[in-house]
């Protein structure tokens, strides 16, 4: 059984349909990458999994259990945690308080504030600083740390490399193996294809609200991916 399954999911913003008949299955312990251009529906899909959007048709299953209409906080209790697009750290809270907010539902597991400071040592000296004063890379590390504090089974990462320096992006992707070792499954959304394909077990390419291509990265050619990405 897959950890997360979407079956024929259609999502609307009022009258505008953003996702058409999305079907994916994410296996426990893998990195599943969703790629595609701006506005292709990748983030909409993550919001549907997190519970911020409710699909009009289709089913969302987590560990075999239907969660279509479950509110976000109950999904966090089940072990679905988010690194939202644009980082969205709490600006008036300190770094340490941001991490504590991640543990709001008090799920048991390997991740504690100390473990996060070990994973991202750059956060250690900043723990008493307000999150609003952090650089983009520091905020991104904090956003990932905050999501891990929920001890998730599935972590949703939305555009984690957007707007960051290459060296910072590298450091963030270097943390992925540690996450997987600790029992996390990663569903990552990226516009920047390069990095994510080196770590992903499965990839789905989004185009105008539909999945144009799906498979194992090593079995797909660059031409296929480019064609699906740009729709040419």
């Amino acid at each position: 059984m897959s950890l997360l399954e979407l079956e024929g999911v259609n999502v609307f913003y009022e009258d505008f349909q953003a996702l058409y008949d999305i079907t994916i299955s994410v296996e426990e312990g893998e990195v599943f990458a969703c790629i595609g251009a701006n506005g292709a529906g990748k983030s909409t899909m993550l919001k549907t999994v997190a519970g911020l959007l409710i699909p009009r048709e289709g089913r969302v299953l987590f560990d075999g259990q239907p969660i279509n209409t479950m509110p976000p906080y109950k999904r966090v209790e089940l072990g679905i945690s988010s690194v939202p697009e644009g980082r969205r750290v709490f600006p008036s809270l300190t770094v340490h308080e941001n991490l504590l907010m991640g543990a709001y539902r008090k799920r048991k597991g390997p991740w504690t504030a100390d473990a996060i400071y070990e994973l991202f040592p750059l956060l250690q000296p900043l723990r008493r600083r307000q999150a609003s004063g952090l650089s983009g890379g520091e905020q991104q590390a904090l956003a990932i740390g905050r999501a891990l504090m929920a001890n998730p089974r599935l972590i949703l990462m939305d555009e984690v490399s957007l707007g960051l320096a290459p060296v910072v992006i590298k450091r963030i992707y270097e943390a992925f193996p540690t996450l997987l070792e600790n029992g996390c499954t990663i569903l990552v959304v990226e516009q920047d294809v390069q990095h994510v394909l080196t770590v992903a077990g499965h990839v789905a390419c989004f185009l105008e609200g539909r999945i144009a291509l799906q498979g194992i990265p090593s079995e797909l050619s660059n031409e296929q991916i480019t064609a699906a990405y740009f729709g040419v």
Partner: protein, 292 residues
Amino acid sequence: MEWLNAIIQGILLGGLYALFAVGLSLVFGTMRLVNLAHGDLTVLPAYIGLIIVGTGVHRFNPLYVIPIVMVIMFIFGYALQRGLLNFVVQKGEVQGVIVTFGLSIVIMNALQEAFTPNSQRLQVGSLNSASITISDQLAIGWLPIIIFILAVVVIAALQLYMGRTMMGRAFRAVSDDQEAARLMGVNTKHVWGVAMGVALLIATIGGVMYGIRTTFHPMLGADRLIFAFEAVIIGGMGSSWGTLLGGVILGVAQLLGSFAFGPAWSILCGHVVFVIILALRPQGFLAKTVTA
């Protein structure tokens, strides 16, 4: 010496205004709701206190009744938020203003219907008039001093609650970014309920203490709402100590105005000082605003 008396009484009055204002500020901070019923919701607990105190032989001291009324108002606030206000919080500011304006009228008229428009008072016997005499012209009542100390204690406790507890952090997180807070597992509907409960619990202390200090009637809500707004704006949004400072400035302005121009000018002087501060320092004195 009389001007000194006016200043001291004004400072002490400011503590009362702060007790009215802190809840208004807390509610606006956590859910961006401008609660126009807040003034009436500070009048309501005085009447609940009146019922509990009773008029027959079993007279309780109103001071002992405060904790009971606080619990009642907390539960009432939580239920009000989850049963009514949560439905308008996310619909935009206008809807919230309309609903709480309606609520304000309902509470005021219900109190008039149930208790008549006549003035009432909660009696605490000798404490009502006990005072410390400093000189011939300067005597400070114990009751205003107790109210001011209560205001300081309440604000310090609120600061600790906001800074040290999970629920307090959730208040601030929801205030910063509601959607991100939901993604961290915060049930915003519950958190807003608790925030309204805490706001009314604090309003209860102010409302009942006012009822002990002087007489009250169902129409007081509108004035209190304005004083509370002014205290919050003068002090600066999001700062509890600022709200106390704002209350003190407003109280001193009112009583100095009364001393200088006569009692009829008291309220107007408070408003004028407020408008001057709003023009010169619109963000307030101790504003804490942080953006991403």
